[in-house]
């Protein structure tokens, strides 16, 4: 007779990563529970070692690295322009935003950031904001599903599909674009894109209102998320939290405004912040609310970009988006840290160029998901296991970026 597969045997765990807490360290009433790496509520392959006392979470230890590809080692062997596809694969639901940040860094090293044509910059912002919408749709849709609301997920995925098809039209790929190039773009926007995008924006506006009614101000949703996972502002800054999480904690800090990169200074938009309307400032509801409001602001930005692209910076026969693309990318020896506002927070790249080759000597990605996830043990302590799932969803990380 063979034994049943899930009979407890210490040998079963011999090959898995050792836990931080050893059985002898636990108190009598405490229990060690593994959540993930295959559980859908961990949003990918994240393993959580949870120490519980009954239903109450005593400590959480995230174990990650299941998707680790060592992007930084790859980057040390590739020319600058060939790294862009790898950058796409970090935060794969917001690839345009990551590309934008990376490309800005290389352009600054080359000193050509002032010479990029305005039309190129507007197209970059347009596609990045479309991708920001798509990313927030994934965040809110899956968050709803985590805590028991199935319909918003389907609605969000339906609307995200339109965005993906628009972006596919620009460059041929649905998620991993390689569209923004150093010094320019892969192609100009396809003919008719502006009109189709305007149609989409007009379609989307009432849908966003629907999302607000269906999910954000839904009583069940509010009950599940208000006063849960409160992240005080001081703690957030100390942990280096950025993006909607930091704004949810009540600080008006958006790099699009603070740094004013690309053409963002010419665009009008608000920076929504959490105020503790339903509970305490910095709780899960505030973070979700900030994301929903940012969707409205992104739509606003997209409309302004479309206006610019159809009036002031119209498509012309002579316009070549690859005009400024350098033939040889060899920055002079320097260190540079560049940062940009991704949907999930501050995406930074640290470059060291040695001035002798087309390959970066070191390219480090400061991943916002990685940093934002590090605060999880701090805010999950003392909550119930069900709330832990709500907190994980509200952080909105992508494991491809956590593990890189």
């Amino acid at each position: 007779m063979s034994t049943v597969q899930y009979d407890s045997d210490p040998k079963n765990l011999a090959l898995s990563e050792p836990t931080k807490y050893k059985p002898e360290q636990l108190k009598t009433e405490e229990m060690l529970i593994n959540i993930g790496p295959q559980h859908p509520s961990t949003h990918g392959v994240l393993r959580l070692e949870v120490i519980t006392d009954g239903e109450v979470v005593v400590d959480v230890v995230p174990h990650m690295g299941y998707l680790h590809r060592c992007f930084e080692k790859h980057a040390e062997a590739l020319p600058y322009n060939q790294i862009i596809p790898y950058v796409d694969r970090m935060d794969y639901v917001a690839a345009m935003n990551s590309e934008h940040a990376y490309v800005m860094g290389v352009e600054r090293m080359l000193g050509i950031q002032e010479q990029i044509p305005k039309r190129v910059e507007y197209i970059r912002v347009l596609v990045a904001e479309l991708n920001r919408l798509a990313s927030h749709f994934v965040a809110l849709g899956t968050y709803g599903m985590d805590i028991g609301a199935f319909t918003p997920f389907l609605w969000m995925m339906r609307d995200r599909e339109h965005i993906q098809r628009l972006l596919e039209w620009t460059c041929g790929a649905r998620m991993l674009y390689n569209y923004i190039w150093i010094g320019g773009l892969f192609y100009d926007l396809p003919v008719g894109f502006e009109e189709r995008c305007t149609d989409f924006v007009n379609y989307l506006k009432p849908k966003l209102k629907e999302l607000e009614d269906l999910l954000i101000s839904n009583k069940i949703f509010v009950d599940r998320t208000a006063n849960v996972g409160v992240l005080p502002l001081e703690l957030a800054i100390n942990y280096g939290i950025t993006g909607p999480m930091l704004r949810g904690s009540g600080l008006k800090f958006d790099l699009r405004r603070v740094d004013g990169y690309s053409v963002y200074p010419e665009l009008e938009f608000e920076v929504p912040i959490g105020t503790g309307e339903m509970g305490t400032t910095g709780d899960c509801w505030d973070r979700s609310w900030v994301r929903a409001q940012e969707c409205f602001q992104s739509v606003n930005i997209i409309e302004q970009c479309l206006k610019q692209l159809t009036i002031d910076h119209r498509r012309t026969r002579e316009f070549d988006p690859r005009e400024m693309v350098p033939k040889k990318i060899r920055p002079k020896a320097q260190d540079l840290y560049v940062r940009a506002e991704n949907p999930k927070g501050e995406l930074g790249f640290f470059f060291r160029a040695d001035g002798r080759s087309d390959i970066p000597f070191r390219c480090k990605a400061r991943a916002c998901s990685f940093v934002n996830l590090s605060v999880l043990p701090e805010i999950a302590k003392g909550h119930l296991i069900g709330d832990l799932i709500a907190i994980i969803g509200s952080i909105d990380f992508v494991l491809g970026e956590v593990d890189r």
Binding site: E17, N238, Y239, S374
Partner: protein
């Protein structure tokens, strides 16, 4: 405060043994610092009311290769109230790859330092929880070193493809 003023301010406070130089080529501009006093300097940068670098944006480890024989740790600081960025660079000799942890100042450093420890093998003293973070516990070597050679087999799986 401009970078020149900041540099003079720090030089006056700590002296030339500690603040060993500056790098104006980098962006944001960088100060070079002695590794032994890193916690002292960074906590001053964090707490001083004229500087108040309250956010540690990024912490990078870097291997200069076996010929040079040094590694570097680079701190990217940002001050939200003053909207100012600063880079702090520390050089470590290859035979003594250890530096004091700054996770007592910014808790975000805890994971950044674990990552540097994992991928480069720089150990951080007084770190609360210095384990590997991205690679498995029983992985051999530190991939971001310039002279890294991957192991032949990992649990019977061929590593080189």
């Amino acid at each position: 405060m401009t970078f020149e003023e900041l540099y003079a301010y720090l030089l006056q406070k700590f002296g030339e043994e500690v603040i060993t130089g500056q790098d104006e080529q980098s962006s944001p501009k960088a100060i070079l610092v002695d590794s032994a006093t890193i916690v002292e300097i960074l906590s001053f940068l964090h707490e001083d009311e004229h500087l108040y670098f309250d956010m540690l944006s990024c912490l990078t480890g870097l291997d200069n290769g076996p010929e040079v024989g040094t590694m570097e740790v680079i701190y990217n600081l940002y001050s939200i109230p003053y909207d100012q960025s600063l880079m702090v660079k520390v050089t470590l000799p290859q035979d003594k790859l250890e530096i004091e942890s700054v996770s007592s100042i910014w808790q975000t450093a805890e994971w950044h330092e674990r990552e540097v420890f994992d991928l480069l093998g720089i150990s951080f003293l007084n770190h609360p929880d210095l384990r590997r973070i991205l690679l498995p516990n029983d992985w051999e070597g530190h991939p971001l070193r310039k002279d890294y050679q991957e192991q032949e087999y990992y649990h019977g799986i061929k590593v080189k493809y």
